[in-house]
């Protein structure tokens, strides 16, 4: 951890710094030999080489951040200049990536040792990670001329996304706002109600739990066409598939959650001569809340997957799953990716909203109250 040398860097950081500097030196040499390197890339490689001075002088972590930024801009500006990128270009990308890693390493160390506020800079690290992934994706797909059918660049996907907003909005409405939300509400609601019934009656417990188990074991590609037969081509059949997928996780989790209250807590209710519904409302449901929210979170992602896959089996000419299946056939892979991006953002936001509600409702649970106790 803190095997710091006289440069103030940990062992890993020192290796990263040496690597970034060495790759810069090599890239600079190759660029000078080739003689066709643009000025901005030369400047980046030169400054990268200069950071080797840190063996003598302390270099603040912001210099590494600045170099990372500068390298990224220089690489993006260099991209359109060549048909096939020269080798020093890839070395510059390697150096840029090393500077980014070094910067994040030093940033997290500074936050750990409380030199920098985690509140302000803590978010920077995951954001940088995401941006770096997108950046490398962009540079590699364009720089190495990866066929668009295999993997389009993020910029292409973004352009396509902006160009097809009306289509995407219509698909989102059809799939998410109608099929997913309706199916999710019905599936989770039914799972919850059946769980209460199962809890009330041991007879139902023996009968309904195996049936729920059986339904959840049915393959989605098997039930989706049948649901289309039963409920028609529109969103109702997709909602039915979502119901079938979300019902069982909710049922099992709620049944398990209702058994969470300890025997002392139940005895307490008994000494008050509390009724079944009083015990349920004031003790067992609050105690079950962490389990119920687990099911709600699992189901939030299951519902979206279920609705999209179900649309592969018959749908009106709108919907995220329909769009993906038809545009793949037309080799419009960038639109498929745009649709995937919308699904990913919608799914994450859905999950995030449920997780926020969970935090507010189960604030008392040890896993949530953590820092506040």
């Amino acid at each position: 951890m803190s095997a710091t040398t006289n440069t103030g860097l940990s062992r890993l950081q020192l290796w990263l710094a040496l690597g970034a500097g060495a790759v810069s030196v090599l890239g600079l040499a190759l660029a000078l030999v080739a003689g066709d390197a643009p000025v901005h890339l030369l400047a980046f490689l030169l400054l990268g080489t200069a950071t080797l001075l840190r063996l003598r002088l302390p270099v603040p972590l912001w210099i590494d951040g600045l170099l990372m930024l500068m390298g990224a801009i220089a690489l993006l500006l260099t991209l359109p200049l060549f048909v096939a990128e020269p080798s020093y270009f890839w070395l510059a990308l390697l150096a840029c990536w090393a500077f980014a890693w070094l910067f994040v390493e030093r940033l997290s160390q500074a936050i750990r040792t409380r030199q920098l506020s985690g509140r302000v800079f803590g978010l920077l690290i995951p954001v940088l990670f995401g941006v770096a992934l997108l950046f490398i994706w962009e540079v590699v797909t364009r720089g190495a001329n990866v066929p668009q059918v295999l993997l389009p660049a993020p910029s292409q996907i973004w352009t396509r996304l902006l160009a097809s907003v009306p289509t995407l909005v219509a698909d989102f409405q059809q799939t998410f706002l109608k099929a997913v939300l309706a199916g999710y509400a019905m599936g989770c609601g039914a799972g919850f109600i059946v769980a209460i019934l199962v809890d009330r009656s041991p007879f139902l417990k023996r009968g309904l739990l195996p049936i729920g188990n059986f339904v959840s074991a049915l393959p989605i590609i098997g039930i989706a066409p049948i649901m289309v037969m039963w409920f028609g081509f529109d969103w109702q059949s997709k909602a039915a598939v979502v119901v079938a997928m979300t019902f069982f996780p909710m049922l099992v989790n709620t049944v398990a959650g209702l058994n969470q209250a300890s025997s002392i807590e139940r005895d307490l209710m008994r000494t008050y001569a509390a009724s079944y519904s009083q015990t349920l409302l004031k003790l067992r449901l609050p105690a079950a809340a962490p389990f119920i929210f687990n099911a709600l979170k699992i189901n939030s992602t299951l519902a979206l997957i279920g609705a999209i896959v179900a649309e592969f089996f018959g749908t009106p000419i709108v919907g995220m799953g329909f769009r993906i299946s038809t545009e793949v056939g037309k080799l419009n892979i960038d639109l498929v990716w745009a649709e995937i991006a919308v699904a990913a953002v919608a799914g994450s936001a859905f999950y995030g909203v449920i997780a926020l509600i969970e935090r507010a409702v189960t604030f008392w649970h040890p896993s949530v109250r953590g820092g506040r106790a």
Binding site: I264, L268, Y272, A273, K282, A289, R369
Partner: protein, 267 residues
């Protein structure tokens, strides 16, 4: 319906057990938890049950509370069956663990029985019972924000809030360290003096039993039974240092003898 004792005898009796027995059926055969227990707890008494684990002291308390069903003999609480007494909300029960609901604040926890029983003037009852256990000012804290001793005091307040005349306490201070325990013991005595409740108190600490009680019931295991009932002659006013007086030590010695007599070294 159980047969009731003549009213003249029963007027003062809150709990009356006659030839009470309870046998648990387990996979390893029957376990006799209580055998032939005869005992009367009168109104206003502080009765301690002491004995090694397995002697049935907790089982007896749970039987009074209708949390276990006796298999022989009769048991009356306030002259009725334990079941009717429970439905009449005749007692408050303090468990070994505080069992406060973590999603409720201290005030809301104390309000729990009031909500269930539909009692009025909640705010006044909460304020009064929290004051009794010295927790005024902690109304809006959550249980996990308080120490173990404070949590157990809150659970006592919860048992007091609906004004049952009988308080059943099952090793309420067993998990606390000795200093906190001493403090809570003297507070419990003050509380008892102020409220004049009938208290049945399970413990395995001899000093605790002698310090608190007007009557000490010594029990022994296998089968669970009462071996001695000791009426305490200590004064009502009991400062903590009463535990160094000869009277106290004499009572403690008698309890210890009772425990030793009932103890077997068979296994």
């Amino acid at each position: 319906m159980t047969e009731l004792a003549p009213p003249s005898q029963d007027a003062m009796a809150v709990v009356r057990a006659q030839n009470l027995g309870l046998t648990f059926s387990t996979n390893d055969g029957d376990v006799i938890a209580l055998s032939d227990v005869n005992l009367t707890i009168n109104k206003g008494e502080f009765v301690s049950f002491i004995g090694p684990s397995g002697c049935g002291k907790t089982t007896f308390l749970r039987t009074i509370a209708d949390l276990e069903q006796p298999t022989s003999g009769t048991l009356t609480v306030n002259g009725t069956t334990p079941s009717d007494a429970r439905l009449n909300r005749a007692y408050g029960y303090v468990f070994q663990a505080p069992a406060l609901y973590p999603w409720r604040t201290i005030a809301q926890n104390v309000a729990l029985p009031l909500e269930i029983m539909g009692l009025a003037d909640k705010a006044e009852r909460i304020a009064r019972t929290l004051e009794l256990v010295n927790l005024t000012g902690f109304e809006n804290k959550y249980p996990w924000q308080l120490s173990g001793g404070m949590q157990q005091r809150a659970s006592i307040a919860r048992a007091l809030s609906f004004d049952a005349d009988l308080l059943l306490m099952d090793e309420p201070f067993g998990a606390l360290d000795e200093i906190v325990r001493d403090h809570l013991n003297s507070e419990l005595l003050k509380l008892w003096a102020r409220t004049r409740k009938t208290i049945a108190f399970v413990t395995h600490s001899i000093p605790e039993a002698v310090y608190l009680s007007t009557k000490i019931v010594v029990m022994s295991p296998r089968p669970g039974r009462v071996t001695d009932i000791i009426e305490s002659d200590l004064p009502a006013e009991r400062p903590l240092d009463i535990r160094e007086t000869p009277e106290f030590l004499r009572l403690a010695a008698r309890v210890r003898d009772g425990l030793r007599a009932g103890h077997s070294y068979e296994e």
